[in-house]
């Protein structure tokens, strides 16, 4: 069998356990653990005057009730502000349990621990909290007026304000470039809130070993290493006494990168205090009102352009709703601001955002992380330009593309990682050519006219994006070959369905020349690998993939060195194929990698027959040098890290054909086409799966999903009944094609793929509906009722 597995659609190795019910998700663990539940604020903004727990004390099976007053130092402090930024002048984070003021419906106020979750909920229902209701601040523009404050000490509700300006080559600022342009347009765009909503909510399960004074915590997280450090710091434990494991995680999509959640601090703390295992598995309502949302923005756009549609100046002002707290800083609006230009080279650009507090659930990255809003803005702008000039929409885009010979291309801004925004590679004209061919762009007007003749209303739309992927600072990989010939790979970042066990094994098998089934991969377990950042920003394949490849190369080098000794050959004449190190051109002269692993570890004791080869009387090592040569370590293993100078930039283009019902205003996607470029593909089957899932989430964001708050700050649709995640019946067939423009920045030539699918969908669907209806579409999502109201307002 071949060991060249990079690029092959290898079937996933995680599937077997998941299709037989043997996966282990958070709530599958700790069957005997006590259960936690929380009393959460029913008000969007209120002062906690008194908490009366007396009625709850009679609940059979109650173990403990905690309020903020009960928490010790450090545990009781506000949660960390994870990503400070100089522009975030008024960052605020929540207390793990409300201290005095609650700032959104769902904020935890009291923690209850009981024998099981039913009883914990019974007790929680009996706890009476006396609130003094304060004026809720809801709605981004309302909040920006600043007439009522979310935090008393944050004037105008403005958490952050940031301006980035890129003058034109002639040194003109955006304002002047726009004023001087032959054509100008100004308009406003709205994007509503959605959320990650993985099907498994958050969850934490903690075991305190009182004898060993050590803590093991399982969390459904996208970053176990960082949760570990946060817990050690909060609980005052030495880092080596805390281990955090991400078990099977039922989806993340961003929400599980935030940490430590209040529950991630409180559950381990309670487990230590009680000397009992404690578990909290978030329920669906909690997930809606107590985790995180994203997307909500209002954008004001001004653009100047010439007769061919070249953008000469673009000025975008963004109001970003970040909810009640800013634990994750201002990453989302920074990404919107910096990724807005997409594949385009434009004259001058100015972007300004204000990140605003509201009495709603906090806003942190959800797959795409600010990019769907950015692409909505840029692509709506392109369509407006085309409409204004009477030009083909694809042609206007092509006129503004960065050309293949212009890479690396410096957009002149600072990206979310604090580094220059320089695109590494891409081929945008070819992507567009492929897309137009796939969807039948040039033939569409005839199709549309023919449908119209039969009373049907069709429209076509497209959208282009560039996505910074694989942000640093680093990831690592550890690779160990044991004396049975097995290869054990570990990396610190976590997995939520991306197939890391498979793709990292493909990389290791290819690099080491071993069969795939000899390789096992562990992710997200601090017992195996303690240094990592996490899984987000389409970075896992780029970061850990390259780190593992580099670690494998170290192992390979060492294996060849040891095998060369054993075979009395030159390492440069050796190759590894199917787990055998052999002399090129002389298949007889070979040694199994398993034996090399034995020889790598000079032993005193023979544990088994194989190990006897490496003991002191076996003659394995020459007498004239120490058994472990200088500069070497025992064992056939290697560890390496990958830390890039800057991000890689993947890209893609989508197109859709939609049909709108002239009577019911129903909107149906008839075709959806994707051209995607994430550099070299490790496993095309998995990349396609990522795209499919992203597009489906994008369809949700374009046509179905929104978080509906009323004026009191109540989330009106905190259930899957009313938060409309698409079913199979709502997602069209998705056609995909790949373009592979390798990244010059990393050894494997890869770019990230995790978020790509979701990014342009709202822009594409808006473009297509606008084409079908002839009405400007300037907000997303759009429902049939909204389309009907738009028609009415336009007098149709």
């Amino acid at each position: 069998m071949t060991t060249r597995l990079f690029g092959e659609p290898v079937q996933r190795r995680e599937d077997r356990r998941l299709i037989t019910g043997q996966g282990l998700f958070l709530d599958d663990l700790g069957r005997d653990a006590l259960a936690a539940a929380f009393v959460r604020s029913p008000h969007a903004h209120a002062r906690v005057r008194d908490i009366d727990v007396s009625a709850a004390l009679d609940v059979d099976g109650l173990v403990a009730i905690y309020t903020w007053e009960d928490l010790p130092e450090r545990v009781r402090d506000p949660l960390p502000l994870l990503i400070p930024h100089p522009a975030l002048t008024h960052g605020r984070t929540a207390y793990p349990l409300a201290r005095d003021v609650v700032r959104h419906v769902g904020e935890p106020v009291v923690m209850v621990v009981a024998r099981d979750r039913y009883l914990a909920e019974d007790a929680a229902a009996l706890i009476e909290v006396d609130y003094e209701i304060l004026k809720p601040v809801v709605g981004i523009e309302e909040a920006a007026l600043g007439s009522h404050l979310v935090h008393d000490d944050v004037p105008g509700n403005v958490g952050a304000h940031l301006v980035q300006e890129v003058p034109s080559r002639a040194g003109l600022g955006a304002g002047r470039a726009i004023d001087a342009a032959p054509h100008t347009l100004a308009f406003r765009l709205d994007i509503e809130r959605s959320a990650s909503t993985p099907l498994e909510g958050r969850g934490v399960y903690a075991r305190w070993d009182a004898d060993d004074r050590s803590l093991r915590v399982y969390s459904s997280t996208q970053t176990s290493t960082s949760v570990r450090m946060a817990i050690a710091a909060k609980l005052g434990l030495p880092l080596p006494s805390v281990e955090v494991v991400a078990p099977d995680v039922g989806g993340g999509f961003g929400v599980k990168i935030v940490h430590p959640w209040p529950e991630e601090v409180l559950v381990p703390w309670a487990a230590m205090l009680l000397g009992r295992e404690v578990k909290w598995a978030e329920d669906r309502r909690e997930h809606f009102i107590s985790s995180a949302h994203e997307r909500g923005q209002v954008q004001h756009v001004r653009v100047g352009f010439d007769d061919e549609g070249h953008v000469l100046g673009l000025d975008v002002t963004i109001l970003h709703d970040h909810g009640a707290y800013t634990p994750y800083g201002i990453i989302v609006p920074i990404i919107t601001a910096t990724q807005l230009l997409g594949p385009y080279r434009i004259g001058a650009y100015r972007v300004e955002f204000s990140s605003i507090y509201t009495n709603t659930v906090q806003v942190t990255p959800y797959r795409g992380a600010g990019r769907p809003q950015a692409v909505f803005c840029m692509e709506r702008t392109m369509d407006r330009i085309a409409a204004h000039l009477g030009l083909d929409r694809a042609q206007v885009r092509a006129a503004n593309f960065i050309q293949p010979d212009e890479f690396p291309y410096d957009q002149g801004m600072v990206f979310q990682d604090g580094r220059p925004l320089i695109y590494d590679s891409g081929d945008y004209p070819e992507s567009l050519r492929m897309l137009k061919e796939m969807i039948g762009w040039d033939g569409f007007p005839a199709m549309k006219a023919e449908a119209a003749a039969r009373g049907r209303r069709l429209g076509i739309g497209l959208g282009c994006y560039v996505e910074g992927t694989g942000v640093g600072p680093y990831e690592g990989g550890h690779v160990q070959v044991t004396s049975d010939g097995r290869v054990h790979v570990s990396t610190g970042l976590t997995s939520q369905g991306q197939g890391h066990e498979t793709v990292f094994a493909q990389i290791a098998a290819t690099e080491l020349g071993v069969p795939l089934e000899k390789v096992s991969v562990v992710t997200g377990d601090t017992r195996r690998f303690g240094y990592a950042v996490g899984t987000f920003a389409s970075r896992a394949a780029v970061m850990s993939g390259n780190a593992i490849a580099l670690a494998c190369r170290k192992v390979r080098e060492k294996a060849l060195r040891i095998a060369a000794d054993a075979l009395e050959a030159d390492p440069r004449d050796l190759e590894i194929e199917d787990g055998l190190v052999r002399v090129v051109g002389n298949p007889e002269a070979s040694v199994p990698l398993a034996t090399v692993a034995v020889l790598s570890n000079p032993l005193r004791y023979a544990f088994d027959e194989e190990a006897a080869r490496a003991t002191q009387f076996s003659g394995a090592t020459p007498m004239d040098r120490p058994p472990v040569p200088e500069g070497e370590e025992p064992g056939l293993e290697g560890r390496d890290y990958y830390s890039p100078v800057r991000s890689t930039f993947a890209s893609g283009m989508h197109a859709a054909i939609v049909e709108t019902d002239p009577d019911t205003a129903e909107i149906r996607i008839l075709r959806y086409a994707v051209v995607h470029d994430c550099g070299r593909l490790i496993n095309p089957m998995i990349v396609e799966g990522q795209i499919h899932g992203g597009v489906a989430q994008g369809v949700g964001g374009a046509l179905y999903e929104r978080m509906v708050y009323d004026g009191h700050g109540q989330l009106l649709n905190a259930s899957f009944m009313d938060f409309l995640m698409p079913y199979a019946t709502e997602v069209p067939a998705i056609e995909t094609a790949h373009l592979e423009t390798p990244s010059p920045l990393n050894p494997l030539g890869i770019k990230g793929a995790g978020e790509a699918g979701v990014i342009p969908v709202s822009a594409v669907i808006a473009s297509a509906i606008e084409d079908a209806e002839g009405l400007p579409i300037d907000r997303m999502p759009i429902s049939p009722a909204e389309l009907y109201e738009l028609r009415r307002a336009a007098g149709r």
């Binding site: 998941l18 993985p198 099907l199 498994e200 995680v249 899932g693 259930s719 997602v731």
Partner: protein, 172 residues
């Protein structure tokens, strides 16, 4: 004062299991926490997501919308019971893996149970029937593309298995 407990016997994956539960114990919690069959997942507890779907007397139902006491005396098949006695995967399980119809795997047990029943009733469904058949199960990862593919593939595999009587396993 504790709640009244009810003694019930459930036949789960062919094995009679006796358990004492309060009236309000959801079947999902009973399977997961009382019987240790954690393959059945809980995604919403209001009957929308379909993660908790199990077969009750062969019919797919939401175990989060069923009290364990009501299921007493009935037969239940969970994802743990879909493979054959020697662990050989059913056509539906094989097809899901082959077609990459799962990513995080959390919704998968519900889909597997739903599709197993769907193909038993309709061994060769049309595309429309497949989509309708899985329309009550949410998946946040796959965009359903490969799940639809897998249902068709499972129908093929089951038909092949039927045509080869020597082979055992789940068939329609």
């Amino acid at each position: 004062m504790g709640e009244a407990l009810h003694e019930i016997a459930l036949t789960v994956n062919g094995v009679v299991r006796e358990v004492r539960v309060p009236g309000r114990r959801l079947l999902s919690d009973c399977l997961r926490h009382d019987l240790g069959l954690t393959g059945t997942h809980v995604g919403c507890e209001h009957g929308v997501c379909g993660c908790c779907t199990v077969l009750l007397d062969g019919e797919p139902v939401r175990s989060c919308l069923t009290f364990a006491v009501t299921a007493g005396g009935h037969e239940i098949t969970t994802v743990e019971g879909l493979a054959g006695p020697e662990g050989e995967l059913s056509p539906v399980q094989r097809a899901f893996s082959e077609c990459h119809a799962l990513q995080c795997g959390f919704c998968t047990p519900g889909f597997l149970c739903t599709v197993t029943a769907l193909l038993r009733e309709n061994p060769a469904p049309t595309g429309e029937q497949v989509v309708e058949g899985i329309s009550g199960n949410l998946c946040r990862c796959t965009g359903y593309q490969n799940i639809v593919k897998a249902v068709h593939r499972a129908a093929e595999l089951a038909a092949e298995a039927d045509a080869t009587p020597a082979r055992t396993g789940e068939h329609a």
